[in-house]
């Protein structure tokens, strides 16, 4: 416990997601994000008459489980719900990967320059906070507003008051894209981009997004699933961890549990979007890894990636 109370003060040079510090995992994730955003926009553009016979033009909207859930409240149909069920299943067995890899709104947040990400090359003091020790609760043990919003949105929808159009991330971007095509101003989308730019890039995702809350809740269902059974997982080796806190400082979703937890093995954190930023920031070989069915996709502390991520660290006290 005395060790657990130790104060850590880490200053980390933070960079914008697109800029210096492009390394393997960032290039990989950004490529996937941009490809899927491009597909999303292409499908929105192609949604004009005639409807495609090969695939539903609204696949992204259908696959968003919050929409599928409220649609199922009015009448369940397996054919309509199938994409959302597949996505939910993948979320249960791996985690909230949708937010960091697929979500078009999340991709837009990652693309805007944000004050919350720190000025390019500038120093920003990150979170001097006591090491919690023990298990390390998800979300620091606090109740996030997004869960309340999720319950509220679903209850109101069932009661005949629709709020989903205001809160669903896929809908917001879809509307923004089609508004832009027809000359309307996508005000909600621009307001959220502004929030990400002046405050924290993923504030919406972590604190407000009801779809994100549904993904978080779904991923909590698969918490006990072993690493070998998970298509995408974050693994920690507690014996190798030096508790420097760089992983917590690097996390775009501002999760500290990766640093705080004393567990080894698969870290099934409800809010973790499996973006791999913590693995990239970790200086210790083998302490953190992204894995797929037990095989390491990306390990920490190896090669150029680790050196690039540690050169920005100025002081560890």
């Amino acid at each position: 416990m005395s060790e657990g109370r130790r104060e850590r003060r880490v200053e980390v040079r933070r960079r914008s997601a697109v800029g210096r510090g492009m390394t393997g995992i960032r290039i990989a994730r950004l490529s996937v994000q941009l490809a899927l955003l491009g597909l999303f926009l292409a499908m929105a553009w192609a949604a004009s008459y005639p409807p495609s016979g090969f695939y539903p033009d609204n696949l992204f909207l259908r696959a968003e489980p919050l929409n599928a859930l409220t649609t199922a409240l009015r009448g369940f149909s397996l054919a309509v719900a199938l994409p959302a069920l597949i996505l939910l299943f993948l979320t249960v067995v791996s985690g909230r990967f949708f937010c960091a890899w697929i979500c078009p709104l999340g991709t837009c947040f990652d693309l805007v320059p944000s004050l919350g990400r720190g000025k390019k090359g500038g120093l920003r003091e990150i979170r001097p906070r006591p090491l919690q020790g023990g298990e390390g609760k998800d979300g620091g043990g606090r109740l996030r507003l997004k869960y309340l919003l999720l319950v509220l949105v679903v209850l109101l929808q069932a009661a005949g008051i629709g709020l989903l159009w205001l809160y669903d991330p896929v809908v917001i971007v879809n509307r923004a894209a089609l508004f832009a095509l027809s000359g309307y101003l996508p005000v909600i989308f621009l307001a959220l981009l502004l929030l990400a730019a002046v405050y924290r890039p993923r504030f919406w995702c972590q604190e407000l997004c009801p779809a994100g809350a549904l993904f978080s809740a779904a991923s909590a269902l698969g918490k006990k699933l072993p690493e070998k059974a998970s298509p995408l997982a974050l693994r920690k080796e507690e014996e190798r961890c030096i508790h420097c806190g760089r992983c917590a400082a690097a996390c775009p979703f501002e999760i500290t549990e990766v640093a705080d937890t004393r567990r080894s093995g698969r870290l099934a954190l409800a809010d973790c979007a499996l973006c791999g930023e913590c693995v990239k920031a970790c200086p210790k070989e083998g302490a953190l890894a992204l894995t797929s069915f037990g095989a390491t996709l990306l390990g920490s502390g190896r090669g150029k990636a680790a050196r690039a991520s540690t050169e920005g660290v100025e002081a560890v006290g």
Binding site: Y49, P51, D57, G141, G160, L164, R175, F179, L181, F203
Partner: protein, 208 residues
């Protein structure tokens, strides 16, 4: 551990977002007398405006371009929901294969088969009509109606046959009366009762 907390900044941010949403709802009360016309095949206006995602897929997918997002004048509860505007184009629900219904990710426009679709009810305001009001010859609406819902009497005046009208909007789209069109599609149940044939204006219906 286990304590529920949010920082002051976060609380203010959340409170601000909530207040903005509440203010938006309070500010945008409907200023229209009539609810908007809807795409074909919805179950009910209440269910539709509650469940519609305002994703604009139907507006994008429409063959004729007869849909547009409803503006704030219809209230925040209907903001950006698809509005069928016959002034833009007529609805071709029998030709397009119900493209809007296929585009809708919430499956909101599949409630009614083609044969039972009624988007609204056309109504002739006689004082604005070229024939009825000014005695000029004009039967464009009669010529354009595909359903035989407009009949012309021996004097060349148009009469509505409400039972046959699907509300497709071809007549409104084509009407040349100015400054206001003489034939307008009204939402079902909101058709005016005076000055016309739709609500039983008392005139004998002319045969052709």
């Amino acid at each position: 551990m286990g304590k529920l907390w949010v920082s002051r900044r976060e609380f203010l941010g959340m409170a601000g977002a909530g207040a903005a949403a509440a203010a938006a709802y309070g500010l945008f009360r409907s200023r229209q007398d009539l609810p908007p016309l809807r795409p074909p095949g919805i179950a009910s206006e209440e269910e539709f405006s509650a469940a519609c995602l305002r994703c604009q897929e139907c507006v994008r997918g429409c063959l004729t371009g007869c849909l547009e997002p409803a503006g704030p004048e219809y209230g925040a509860g209907k903001l950006w929901t698809p509005r069928f505007n016959p002034d833009l184009a007529r609805c071709e629900f029998e030709l397009c294969g119900r493209a809007c219904a296929k585009a809708c990710p919430a499956s909101l426009m599949s409630a009614v088969p083609d044969a039972e679709v009624r988007l609204g009810q056309a109504f002739i305001t006689r004082k604005r009509c070229l024939v009825w009001g000014q005695g000029k010859p004009c039967l464009i609406c009669y010529e354009r109606c595909r359903y035989g819902a407009i009949e012309a009497d021996e004097k060349g005046r148009p009469h509505m046959v409400p039972e046959k009208c699907t509300g497709c909007g071809a007549c409104q789209n084509t009407c040349i009366a100015e400054p206001q069109k003489a034939i307008i599609v009204y939402p079902l149940g909101r058709v005016p009762e005076d000055e016309g044939d739709a609500g039983g204006g008392g005139r004998k219906r002319g045969g052709v």
